[in-house]
């Protein structure tokens, strides 16, 4: 195989009570990437469309992730990477993760799959380290594996694939304002109240149970974040009102996607998702804030060859 074209999906990380450990993969929001062997013994980013991002390999998240992979293999094959960005950088739905995960997935295919998909996670995390200063896994893992991913441990890295209830739909509203991941991390308190932490882990345990038994209402009740959301939501215009509107329109749960500013509403079925989407859209239009909207199933496959 000389070249490969892939769809690299957007993802929702920091899923409420699962801050830093739980993410899920979206289906119809993502980048397209073309990866091709070259004869130059050199890794190049040859084209990026849709976003203004660095072309230098060592400054580009896809470049850095692939370099980590090639270094592990001690391999000198050169590659060209073209990226059509459809996920906006800084949106909070895993833009850097899509590029990092997509790049290592594609290169691994071109090399005859020396690594399993799960083994690609640490390489993709190097792209995250470049993007945000923190090599988190809760975007790249669901981008690579699809569905819901739980990071049990970072040292050693252990990521679990969790089941996805089939009727789950995700509505994403991306306010077109800039919130940098680094800034969004900086406002988080490094000490938390024990009672709040207990509430958080009780909810995360229940959320995992809900995924196994396909209890949508329990899933919704468990999407509760006492620790991060109260702090970060102040960076998102009308967060409380949006949440109320989404819940009143039938959403199971609502929260901040990644480090924001995107917010997500989890819904059971497309009918509810449409109601939620339209209500949020109307509200933001009235407020005069620009935004993007996405409405997606859970992508249980992850990256797709197209």
């Amino acid at each position: 195989m000389e070249d490969i074209k892939i769809f690299a999906p957007a993802t929702v990380a920091n899923l409420s009570c699962g801050f830093d450990v739980l993410g899920c993969c979206l289906d119809n929001v993502g980048d397209e990437m073309l990866l091709r062997k070259n004869d130059l013994n050199e890794l190049r980013i040859t084209r990026i469309s849709g976003q203004d991002l660095p072309m230098e390999t060592h400054k580009n998240v896809a470049g850095v992730a692939v370099q980590a992979l090639l270094k592990q293999l001690d391999f000198t094959q050169g590659f060209d990477i073209e990226i059509d960005k459809h996920i906006k950088a800084g949106s909070g739905i895993g833009s850097s993760a899509a590029s990092s995960a997509g790049a290592v997935y594609g290169i691994n295919k071109l090399l005859g799959e020396p690594f399993t998909v799960k083994e690609l996670i640490p390489f993709a995390m190097e792209g995250e380290r470049l993007a945000s200063g923190n090599a988190h896994a809760d975007n790249v893992a669901p981008a690579l594996m699809g569905g819901f991913s739980l990071v049990r441990s970072y040292d050693p890295l252990e990521v679990l694939a969790l089941p996805s209830p089939p009727k789950l739909r995700v509505v994403i509203l991306h306010p077109l304002i800039e919130v940098k991941t680094k800034d969004s991390r900086a406002i988080i308190k490094q000490n938390v109240n024990l009672q709040d932490a207990i509430t958080q882990w009780g909810n995360l345990g229940a959320l995992v149970s809900a995924l196994y038994v396909e209890d949508y209402e329990l899933f919704g009740r468990s999407l509760h974040d006492k620790i991060i959301e109260p702090v970060r939501s102040i960076l998102i215009p009308y967060f409380d009102e949006l949440k109320q509107i989404a819940m009143e329109s039938g959403a199971l749960g609502f929260g901040i996607s990644g480090s924001g500013p995107s917010v997500f509403a989890m819904c059971k079925g497309d009918e509810v998702a449409v109601s939620v989407r339209e209500a949020m859209q109307l509200f933001y239009q009235e407020k005069g804030i620009d935004f993007d909207l996405h409405h997606s199933e859970i992508n249980t496959q992850g990256i797709k060859i197209i």
Copy 2:
């Protein structure tokens, strides 16, 4: 029905990463209780054997729990309660919970089951409030429901029943020293490091997953407590050595049961459980510390009529 005799099981609460929210029910360790209607319109504790506990209804956990139940029903039927305690008070394996849960379970049966078993939890929690100053549910819930119980929320109370992998065995070592629940709570820090909390909820999410997919090794890896165990273990003689011995003998995981001083070792199958039990026994005998030992399956039924 005029009287009922029941087995009220011991339980392991505060299961490592599931501090305050996760407990499980033991099978061959528990009290026996005889509950009988009387014609006196009065609730009486008529006999307690095995432990020196208050006979006054309002000072006894079983009495207080039943009073809460009867108050809800606005009922004037009188009852006599006899308790044969086999679980030592202050052992950390749910002695007060067994009495509280057993009493409300039995009385509910004698009254024709006006409440479901799950609805009995808040009444039994009143016994816990009397015993420890804290109406926690992670002992009384598994005592009543059997198996593993997860407390998603205390306000409102929501308790989930989780599956029990069939080969799981629990070895309990109870050092015969006194650690009061109130004291054991007092040494816990009320603020925790966010990174430690993230590790904790990642592990709890993975532990819940492990119960569903019957992955014993994952269950063991997830039995990890960065927050409470490091503080409370100092109250338990040779905790670190015991843990090492249990793990080297093949235990899946090891931790403090309830608020101690009992410790638990989770094992896959009876053969490993016997090895673990014998190794801990030998070590404590060499150290000259008195102890009780229990070796149990997970009791998936909870309280049993005998």
